[in-house]
Subunit: 120 residues, 2 copies
Amino acid sequence: MSKKKPYCECLNTVKPVRDTLEVINGKWKLSIIISVGVGNSRFTEIQESIPGLTPKVLSKELKELEQHQLIKRIITNDYPVKISYCLEPYADTLTPIIYAMKDWGLNHKKKIFQENPSEI
Amino acid sequence: MSKKKPYCECLNTVKPVRDTLEVINGKWKLSIIISVGVGNSRFTEIQESIPGLTPKVLSKELKELEQHQLIKRIITNDYPVKISYCLEPYADTLTPIIYAMKDWGLNHKKKIFQENPSEI
DNA sequence: TATAGCTATTTCCCAAAGGAAAGTGAAATA
DNA sequence: TATTTCACTTTCCTTTGGGAAATAGCTATA
């Protein structure tokens, strides 16, 4: 007879959630996807649309998002070479996550405010 | 006439998403919420149910989750003092995010496998 | 020709995240 | 009495994330 109650299995949920986190982790990736999604396609546009985002970080994150096939980098070989970014169709599959997080964030702010209106 | 195309506003989505990330960021928080949610209530149970989670990190994360009113720490003052953890009702509001991320992770694995079956 | 703008890259640096391992104090068990 | 378990805490260390600022190569504009 064992004394120890065995723990409840939860890996069937924990593992896929962690797989997702490996792709969209970090402070900036989802924001960049949102920004490109609403129409910002140039490096500078994306950077200016997200306060606090520095060019170094944007550059690095764009590369990672490219590798995960969420964002496409397009080089236009016109007279002035132009580089622009757009979402890959695969990025659309993130929409449910983004909306769930948007809704939660809005509701959370409301809750915080109701509990303590002084916190802006 | 301005030459510069102004960037598209996306802060109405970016900001709440970042507010959410501030609460559930990091590698472990969602996993811990999932584990407690399926019934693991003791420190050691939670730790054992999540491979790779060390006691130091679990301890720290539990405190942060308590502060955000997602998890409740319960001290039972019986003959042996027992400490257990359970979800606050507020943690249930994270369910849509967790399910969206679980679904995405499962689908992502499938996609990776279809593209390159060698990567387990 | 000089200056400004775009799209980054590079260097340097600091703080936070997180892992390994040992320790702690209280209670339970042998 | 000695050992084990539980619930952490502490220490030490490495890795990662990310900010500031300078620079680079190209084109456009004055």
